[in-house]
């Protein structure tokens, strides 16, 4: 029973990993931008959630009304800047890392480096759960899972069924030919950057619901998020979701059956092996 419970909570937590990874994956796959500043946007969103909920007494979920538009604008503006400066894929890694450092310092100056956490009075979700028999679904991770599934399903629908989605996919395949067919890649890129920022806002809120915040937290997400992006296949949202859930569940099961200390070892060994066998990602068809 403990193993099933741990696999289940790990699976739900995987939804948060997938949501954090979705923005990175799609901007990398479609726009060829490895945007580490995305972690900074998640961090700022988490702190804004904390601040708005603690100071104004807003329900933490309702803070999305402020953070989603703010991060949409920030993500769009960032993509506009990358495009205007003509930053290449590799250089985007360096430039966005610098930006992340600036954001982390900014957050330290505004909120201090000490732990910040929403009190139980403003965050009733932290210890809440839904039970079915002996199995328990923590509300914070259940929300993350549901939001991740809903978001990725909607995004896939847009990418496959709308003109804008098809244009983005064409652009990801071949920029020159897509431009020759009249696709305005700049405008689409800004919208995609904005949407990526919006996912950062949701991920930040979900993270703040369950965790204490420190500015250095942003760096702790690197390993697991990049593992999810690469395992899922760069730019493949459904793959990202599947990889997030797999990583979460595997981590939970190993923690119980072996030891929590063995989880990172088993997880990253499995990732290396998976990438040796399927270098384009576990969930990408070979023909693609």
């Amino acid at each position: 029973m403990i193993t099933i419970q741990s696999a289940l909570t790990g699976l739900l937590l995987g939804g948060l990993y997938a949501l954090m990874a979705a923005g990175v994956s799609v901007t990398w796959g479609v726009l060829r931008i490895i945007n580490l500043a995305h972690f900074g946007m998640i961090l700022i969103s988490a702190y804004l959630t904390f601040q708005l909920a603690s100071d104004w007494g807003l329900d933490p979920i309702l803070t999305l009304a402020v953070t989603v538009p703010a991060m949409f604008v920030a993500g769009g503006a960032l993509q506009w800047a990358y495009d205007r400066l003509g930053i290449s894929e590799l250089n985007s890694l360096l430039a966005s890392f610098g930006l992340l450092i600036v954001i982390v310092q900014l957050v330290s100056n505004v909120w201090s480096a000490d732990f910040q956490r929403m009190s139980a009075a403003v965050n009733p979700y932290a210890t809440a759960s839904v039970g079915i028999g002996r199995l328990v679904f923590p509300v914070t991770t259940l929300l993350a899972f549901l939001v991740a599934v809903a978001f990725i399903a909607a995004a896939e629908l847009v990418l496959r069924r709308t003109f804008a989605g098809r244009a983005l996919r064409a652009f990801a395949e071949d920029r020159t030919i897509a431009s020759a067919f009249g696709i305005d890649h700049r405008r689409l890129g800004i919208v995609l950057g904005g949407l990526s920022g919006a996912t950062a806002a949701v991920a930040g809120m979900l993270f703040a619901l369950a965790n204490a915040l420190t500015p250095a937290t942003a760096f702790e997400w690197f390993g697991i998020v990049f593992a999810v992006v690469i395992l899922g296949g760069i730019g493949h949202l459904t793959g990202t979701l599947a990889a997030g859930l797999l990583v979460g569940a595997l981590s939970g099961v190993v923690s119980v059956l072996l030891s929590p200390a063995a989880a990172p070892f088993v997880l990253f060994t499995a990732i290396v092996l998976a990438l040796l066998l399927r270098p384009r990602g576990l969930f990408v068809r070979a023909a693609q």
Partner: protein
């Protein structure tokens, strides 16, 4: 013409070298008593990175200490200037920065950084240059081998024995002492050895619990990078121990308590070794009764015993911490350790009557130091200068930390689990 030019260049160089040498002499050891230059204390702190949360507390405490010291006339009649660099929680940077402070900036005194790994790095540089180094929080006595390092927080020479024994003594005093304990250990260097000891001495909480006839289940080691706490919480819930011992850091106990609450479970009694003090208080009833260690809590009865100056220090710290936007503004263990380290530095200078590092070190060994929050400290190099410990156990009672053990120094009575 060329020869004359060379002569001019040589003369200028010679004058420059002479000027530098004379500056070094005036800045160096045994500076003239009449000097009005400030005494410069150099150090690093983790103002960013993984240790920044606590580094911020030490910065505020240090600034407050130096301001109060200067207001009282400084040291040896000179004002004190504290040069603090951000080591970014990076051991490699700690070494480089201390080397720079000592070799290039030629600071008069040094004080240690925050966090054991950083202190170990700084200690190696201090030892190479023969500097006396008080430090705030390294409690790993066996590793602190330099005879002129002086800790501001001591759990005695064997923390891996003292901490578990003090806890087991405390809970043994309850009407229904625990019989079964769960031990969950963060694999960080500062916590793992308290559960399992070190290579040379494998005594720790696990072996001591068994010696005392307690059942240990479950016994879990987890990495510092743990993000999914549910597997740990589920194992504890199913084992149903009487006491959960979490040798963890930062927000580990909060994450554990929250994960257990999500499973609809609250342990009868829980202890956490080095938690950030603020976050558990925000957890509400889920954290009520949590135990931890402390060297100082500003409980009224304690402040009444210490007197007016201690109260002033505590209140001024609160103002400064509020201005710095710290979420938890109470002057407690970390700030008290910092204060003690600064008082050791001042005692070294005042008792030796100068800035000679060897004389300072010798005077501390022979005379000890008087401190506000830990009384008189004696330093014995045979036990790496780790003085008799003043560490106590504290507990969250009515949403506040209060000292509860040892009983003769406690501000409140240790509370066991509520009756079933």
């Amino acid at each position: 013409m060329r020869r004359r030019g060379s002569a001019v260049v040589a003369t200028v160089l010679l004058l420059a070298i002479t000027a530098c040498e004379s500056k070094s002499e005036s800045d160096g050891e045994g500076a003239p008593a009449a000097s009005t230059e400030p005494i410069v204390v150099g150090s690093t702190l983790s103002l960013s990175g993984a240790f920044a949360a606590t580094g911020a507390i030490h910065k505020i405490a240090g600034e407050q200490f130096v301001a109060r010291l200067n207001a009282k006339g400084g040291l040896l009649g000179r004002q004190v200037q504290w040069v603090v660099r951000d080591d970014e929680s990076d051991q490699a940077k700690v070494s480089t920065l201390y080397e720079q402070l000592i070799s290039q900036e030629r600071v008069d005194l040094i004080i240690g950084p925050y966090a054991t790994p950083n202190i170990l790095s700084a200690m190696a540089v201090a030892q190479r240059h023969g500097y006396t180094m008080p430090h705030h929080t390294s409690v790993l006595a066996p590793l602190m081998t330099y005879e002129c390092q002086f800790p501001g927080w001591s759990i005695g020479p064997k923390p891996n024995e003292f901490v578990p024994n003090q806890l087991f003594d405390a809970v043994a005093s309850l009407p229904n002492p625990p019989k079964k304990v769960a031990i969950l250990t963060n694999q960080n260097g500062s916590t793992d050895f308290v559960s399992y000891g070190s290579q040379s001495d494998q005594t720790g909480a696990v072996s001591i619990a068994k010696q005392r006839g307690l059942t240990v289940a479950p016994e879990i080691r987890y990495p510092p990078s743990t993000t999914d706490w549910a597997p740990l919480a589920a194992q504890v819930r199913d084992a149903a121990p009487d006491l959960v011992i979490n040798h963890g850091l930062g927000v580990d106990p909060v994450n554990l308590l929250q994960a257990m609450a999500q499973l609809g479970y609250k342990p009868p009694l829980m202890f956490s070794l080095f938690p950030a003090p603020g976050p558990p208080l925000g957890l509400g009833p889920a954290a009520e009764g949590l135990l931890s260690v402390t060297i100082f809590e500003p409980n009224k009865s304690t402040l009444d015993k210490l007197g007016k100056e201690a109260t002033e220090i505590v209140e001024e710290f609160k103002t400064r911490a509020t201005d710095a936007k710290l979420p938890y503004t109470v002057f407690e263990t970390q700030a008290a350790a910092s204060w003690t380290a600064w008082e050791i530095l001042v005692a070294a200078v005042e008792r030796s009557g100068g800035l000679d590092q060897k004389a300072m070190c010798d005077k501390l060994h022979s005379d000890g130091a008087d401190t506000t929050f830990n009384g008189h400290l004696d330093f014995d190099p045979a036990v790496h200068n780790f003085w008799r410990t003043t560490q106590q156990i504290k507990q969250i009672q009515s949403k506040d930390w209060v000292t509860v053990w040892p009983a003769d120094r406690a501000a409140a009575k240790l509370q066991g689990p509520p009756a079933a």
